[in-house]
């Protein structure tokens, strides 16, 4: 790939973005190449392009969101991450970002592998199925838990591969993936003080963000 050139924007991007997006944005170094997988209408991408001079690319499955993103001058393609990530060459990006989506993929392991094949770092965020409210709900209610973060019924949820934070840490270990940084988040997306890979996070945080690299 060529030197990254910042993505231009037709509309003025907003300096204020959702707390969890801001957290991810802060993890991205300026003037790098970023692929936002499941980029939606491009909120994060346009922020990164405008304020971090990033060469910002996106992949999104919803056509109307893709249209919204391209209409703002962002480089976004319509596609399915489970089939389309394989097209990208090794090391094409500095970062591949996957927010709140891994649990909805058919093959999270393959997706994770692809993210770290095409990018030096993957920034992955996940809902934590080990949160005490979820455990309590299943224990006491005896039914599949539903929370503000996971509001769907078992039969219509897109989240077919839910995991706990500890599950995810195990998967990374088995795939020789190094967790470079991690953040435990509350339901409001606020950073918690305890380690994001330990039992406390697994019990008390609703969400976690990981910066991953290959071990080698």
């Amino acid at each position: 790939m060529n030197q990254p050139s910042p993505t231009p924007l037709a509309n003025k991007p907003s300096k204020r973005i959702r707390v969890d997006l801001q957290l991810v944005a802060d993890l991205v170094a300026p003037q790098t190449r970023v692929l936002d997988v499941g980029c939606g209408d491009g909120t994060l991408l346009s922020y990164l392009a405008a304020f971090k001079q990033v060469d910002a690319r996106g992949l999104e499955i919803s056509m109307s969101r893709v249209r919204a993103a391209v209409s703002q001058g962002l480089s976004v393609i319509q596609g399915n991450l489970e089939t389309d990530l394989k097209d990208y060459p090794d090391g094409a990006f500095d970062y591949a970002i996957l927010s709140q989506t891994l649990q909805a993929t058919l093959n999270p392991q393959a997706v994770l592998g692809d993210l770290l094949r095409i990018a030096k770092r993957a920034i992955v965020s996940l809902p934590n199925f080990g949160h005490w409210r979820i455990r309590w709900s299943l224990l006491v209610g005896g039914r599949m838990p539903m929370t503000a973060n996971l509001p769907d019924q078992w039969y219509n949820t897109p989240n077919i591969h839910l995991c706990t934070i500890l599950d995810f840490v195990d998967l990374c270990q088995s795939m020789n993936i190094r967790i470079e940084q991690s953040f435990a988040l509350s339901a409001d997306g606020l950073k918690q003080n305890y380690s994001a890979t330990g039992w406390q996070a697994n019990l008390f945080s609703e969400e976690a963000v990981f910066v991953l690299t290959r071990q080698d």
């Binding site: 060529n2 037709a10 391209v70 209409s71 001058g73 480089s75």
Partner: protein, 389 residues
């Protein structure tokens, strides 16, 4: 077919002004190996070139389009093919951009083609005109820009055959174009596309008036053959839904079937009209040559069988656009290009527009399409800090 052909709109002037022309000073070496000298390129421009010459957009027309993309067409007196898109304040805003559209090499609207006089013989070229390709068309455009003193182009945009030219521009002149927008196109003509073109060509050649391509010198016009070619092609530009919505099985100016071969159905009458108005503005041999150029186009085979080879390391920004109901250049074709571009990590956007209007949707009022096109091009202009003229 001759029984109920509708009256066709005639040219407003017997010898219409075909706009601006340039004779290329450099010879054009064709892909076939032949060389054309003294090539004329007829073109139109819209908007004003800015001081930095950085606001240039090259628009490439489709098979039967021409350089008269907006305003009133000098021959048909109808609106230009992209009058919805190009103009002051429109999707491609001519208050901001300088848009150039050239009649393709091999065309019949003033650029060198089989209809024109071969300077070497003083006779119309006819079938003695060399077979040209999409690459040759684009080479002629590039030479036109050379002579106009224009170096870098902000964006090359085109639908259908125009999309092929846009891809060829990105492939051949990656340092000369900042972005390309291939719309409703492909990197190669499929077997089905070639098959439809062959039907058209055979219809023309089956017309005795075609006279082995010598009709101009014999003062004949292969109207029927060309009209049938147009009719067959026109069906491929529409969708079944669009045809059904427009015509259904409605009868034409009659309440019952006539039990004959008149145009009982509105759809028949419509196609005949399409066919017969077409022959007034198009040259049959040009139709043969341009369809052939499209058939020969294959960026993958030219690059060792892998399309991605055509764009390795490309600095060009791409925006692919397709339409859901386009079965002539279906979305899968655009997606194949996207995959190839991803494989070389090129900067690419891709949008499929929901439309039931078939291939022709790129010429029609499709707000989602227009919004996408405008956003992409304006985004490119902002990136390049393009000043208004």
């Amino acid at each position: 077919m001759t029984t109920t052909s509708p009256t066709m709109p005639r040219a407003t002037a017997p010898d219409p002004d075909l706009g601006t022309k340039v004779v290329l000073t450099a010879p054009l070496v064709l892909q076939s190996g032949e060389t054309l000298t003294g090539v004329t390129v007829a073109y139109q421009t819209y908007g004003t070139l800015n001081a930095e010459k950085s606001n240039v957009i090259v628009a490439c027309h489709a098979l039967t389009g021409d350089q008269f993309m907006c305003g009133t067409h000098p021959i048909t007196a109808k609106r230009g093919w992209w009058d919805d898109i190009v103009g002051p304040g429109k999707v491609i805003d001519t208050n901001r951009y300088f848009v150039i559209c050239a009649n393709v090499l091999g065309g019949c609207m003033g650029s060198t083609g089989p209809k024109e006089i071969n300077p070497a013989t003083g006779r119309a070229w006819g079938l003695r005109f060399p077979v040209i390709t999409i690459r040759d068309m684009v080479a002629a455009q590039a030479k036109l820009l050379d002579q106009l003193g224009i170096g870098k182009v902000l964006c090359v945009v085109g639908g259908s055959m125009g999309a092929m030219q846009a891809l060829e521009w990105a492939h051949r002149y990656p340092q000369r174009v900042f972005a390309v927008v291939p719309i409703a196109g492909s990197y190669r003509h499929s077997a089905q596309n070639i098959a439809f073109h062959e039907v058209g060509r055979q219809a023309i050649m089956a017309d005795p008036e075609w006279s082995h391509g010598n009709y101009l010198e014999e003062n004949r016009v292969p109207k029927r053959g060309l009209a049938v070619a147009r009719m067959a092609a026109h069906i491929t530009y529409l969708s079944e839904t669009a045809l059904h919505r427009k015509f259904g099985r409605k009868l034409q100016d009659r309440s019952t079937l006539t039990y004959g071969f008149d145009a009982d159905f509105q759809v028949e009458s419509y196609l005949r009209h399409q066919g017969y108005t077409f022959v007034d503005r198009f040259d049959a041999n040009s139709y043969l040559y341009i369809t052939r150029a499209m058939d020969y186009f294959d960026l993958a085979s030219e690059n060792g069988g892998a399309l991605s080879n055509a764009f390795k390391g490309s600095p060009v920004r791409f925006c692919l656009i397709s339409f859901t109901s386009d079965w002539l250049f279906p979305t899968a074709e655009s997606r194949a290009i996207v995959h190839a571009l991803n494989a070389v990590a090129a900067n690419v956007s891709f949008v499929e527009i929901e439309s039931d209007k078939g291939h022709d949707a790129f010429l029609l009022d499709e707000p989602d399409f227009h919004q996408t096109l405008r956003g992409f091009i304006d985004g490119c202009a902002d990136a390049q800090k393009v000043q208004r003229p």
